[in-house]
């Protein structure tokens, strides 16, 4: 059974003529212990979908089920409980930080979701170790004292600290350099392989998705146009849009591509 299921999930902003249908009836499931990538260009509604799944935006229609219970509409207390099991890493390692907080303050705040105080501290230290930090080195630092990559790792540690069953990464690697990017993607792979975490990554980069994901969902203008295993979607795409997307990706090796010279 899928850990998370969305049935005909939709989100409309505004109303009347100016209404924007950001997500139009998305139906999908996230298998436990797998990585699913949502692929699409800017404006495809993939970030809106992420916020719906995270319970940060109320949906306009459809249902969401997590671990057997309905999470379509949640009270503040229910959300708090949901966020103990579902966490996220966001795109921008700069704006995801409150610049007035130290790393410790940031993590302490999340730690309040954990009932046992001592346990929370242990997990915080453990999570920082997971992403390659010495606790004493970073805990007193402000975000401006950290590099972009370091900040993103802190954000991952924050999410890991909750030991989420479902981790959602919204373009979490798009602002990182190629080299750092694979390091972060490897963290996701390790989480899946060693802790059995279910992961959903949102990305516009189909190359990253190919590397990390077991399954792919392709979105275009709010519609989920194709879904399947990465193997199928990348090497045997059915939908025109997916084919176009793949054709436009610049290739590093092999033929130069027909557009040059």
């Amino acid at each position: 059974m899928a850990l998370f299921e969305a049935d005909n999930l939709s989100k409309t902003f505004g109303g009347g003529k100016g209404a924007v249908h950001a997500v139009k009836g998305a139906t999908f499931g996230l298998e436990p212990g797998s990585i699913t990538a949502v692929v699409g260009e800017s404006g495809s509604g993939k970030s809106t979908l992420a916020r719906l799944v995270l319970g940060l935006l109320p949906s306009s229609g459809g249902t969401m089920t997590f671990d057997g219970s309905d999470v379509t509409k949640m009270s503040f207390l229910q959300s708090k409980k949901y966020w103990q099991e579902v966490q996220a890493v966001f795109q921008d390692p700069f704006s995801a930080f409150n610049q007035f907080f130290t790393v410790e303050r940031l993590l302490d705040r999340s730690a309040k979701l954990i009932d046992n105080k001592a346990e929370a501290r242990t997990r915080m230290e453990e999570a920082l170790h997971h992403v390659g930090f010495e606790v004493a080195d970073v805990i007193k630092k402000h975000p401006h004292e950290l590099s972009g990559g370091q900040r993103q790792r802190i954000m991952i540690a924050r999410a890991l600290m909750m030991r989420p069953k479902l981790l959602l990464a919204d373009e979490a690697t798009s602002m990182l350099d190629a080299s750092l990017r694979v390091n972060v993607l490897n963290v996701f792979k390790d989480l899946r392989d060693n802790l059995g975490t279910t992961i959903m990554i949102i990305t516009h980069d189909i190359g990253q998705a190919t590397y990390v994901a077991d399954r792919m969902l392709v979105m275009q203008k709010g519609d989920m146009v194709e879904q399947g295993t990465s193997q199928d979607v990348v090497f045997n795409p059915q939908h025109e849009y997916t084919k176009q997307l793949l054709a436009d990706v610049p290739k590093l090796h092999g033929e130069l591509g027909e557009l040059v010279h």
Binding site: D177, R181, V182, H253
Partner: protein
């Protein structure tokens, strides 16, 4: 023989920090571009590639100061230095900058036509308003862009169209050299491709004679550039034909960078790729010898002491002791990443007991 368009020799530029130190973000860099050529420039963030772009485009602003170097663009020579004034006629007509994030800095309340006039006027054109717009209209027609974009507000255009229109506007004065700083990073792949095709077309139409294209997207660089320069810690460590860089890099850093590229290809599904651990060195206090040696698995004793010299010619070279000693041996990625474990506590997600 192809004509040389840009000769930038021994360019050094530094940021002045409030406590009075100098951080050399570009250190003794020489760049050459031939006519009709697109030179790609890549590297990790913080390697100085944007800074180099700003210095070459003469748009350096405090706290960034050019310190020394010589620019020769299409026969016109300029000595760089902290107190040397930039001739007003250079910007826009000799060299033009397509800045990073230009997409998001357009005034939302002004139509594109207003931008055309403003940009041309600020570069001291003697054309009248209508002539400016005619020029822009012709240019857009020739490049296959819809001229009605001129009468649109920025928000009415898609990101890709906006970027192409801005590119056209920034080259209205036919600069000899265009420097484009991450023009594609905010665009999706289809728009990237359209922009790249348009740049090629602009070179064909002789709107400009050469382009320096700065990005961290290596596959894109391979597609668009004739040659690629790889920067690390304020220096160019390797320059080569894009084909050679992609298939036969001669510097371990280039190799590591290319290795981390993820493409939707068959082998990406199964393989595990490792990135280089550790951070680029502090430019305020760069390491002795080769600047990459603290992270390099191929580093030898000599690398820690002697800065490697460029092997090859000014259009194609690598600065690496190892490559020099092993001229025909390809660099193996396992060797480069050999020191990953000792550099930094590894990212470990252990199975729970």
């Amino acid at each position: 023989m192809t004509k040389r368009l840009l000769e930038a020799k021994q360019v050094t530029a530094a940021y002045h920090t409030p406590d009075g130190r100098e951080v050399r973000a570009v250190d003794n860099v020489s760049v050459f571009v031939n006519e009709g050529e697109i030179l790609g420039c890549a590297g990790e963030s913080g390697c100085g590639k944007s800074t180099l772009g700003n210095v070459l485009a003469l748009t350096a602003r405090p706290p960034l100061y050019p310190i020394s170097g010589t620019l020769n663009i299409d026969g016109q020579v300029l000595e760089l230095g902290q107190n040397n004034k930039v001739p007003r006629t250079w910007r826009g007509s000799v060299v033009s900058m397509l800045p990073q994030g230009a997409l998001n800095s357009l005034s939302p309340t002004a139509k594109i036509r207003g931008l055309v006039v403003d940009v041309l006027k600020s570069h001291g054109t003697k054309l009248s308003k209508d002539e400016c717009l005619d020029l822009a209209r012709d240019r857009m027609k020739n490049l296959g862009l819809p001229t009605r974009a001129l009468d649109s507000y920025p928000h009415q255009l898609s990101g890709g169209m906006k970027q192409r229109v801005i590119t056209v506007i920034s080259t209205l004065l036919n600069p000899r050299l265009l420097i484009a700083d991450e023009p594609t990073s905010a665009l999706d792949v289809s728009s990237q491709r359209a922009l790249v095709e348009m740049l090629r077309e602009m070179l064909n139409q002789d709107i400009m004679k050469g382009v320096i294209f700065i990005t961290h997207d290596l596959p894109l660089l391979k597609t668009i550039s004739d040659r690629v320069a790889i920067m690390y810690a304020g220096q160019i460590v390797e320059v080569a034909n894009s084909e050679d860089i992609a298939e036969r890099p001669r510097h371990p850093y280039s190799k590591a960078l290319l290795n981390a590229v993820l493409a939707p290809e068959e082998d990406t599904l199964a393989k595990r790729v490792e990135g280089i651990k550790g951070s680029p060195p502090s430019l305020a206090k760069p390491p002795s010898g080769c600047r990459f040696h603290p992270r390099c698995g191929l580093a030898m004793d000599i690398c820690t002491q002697v800065m490697p010299r460029a092997q090859g010619n000014e259009l194609q070279f690598a600065k690496c002791h190892w490559s020099q000693q092993h001229p025909h041996e390809p660099i193996r990625i396992e060797d480069v990443l050999r020191r990953n474990d000792e550099i930094e506590a590894p990212v470990l997600i252990k199975k729970e007991a």
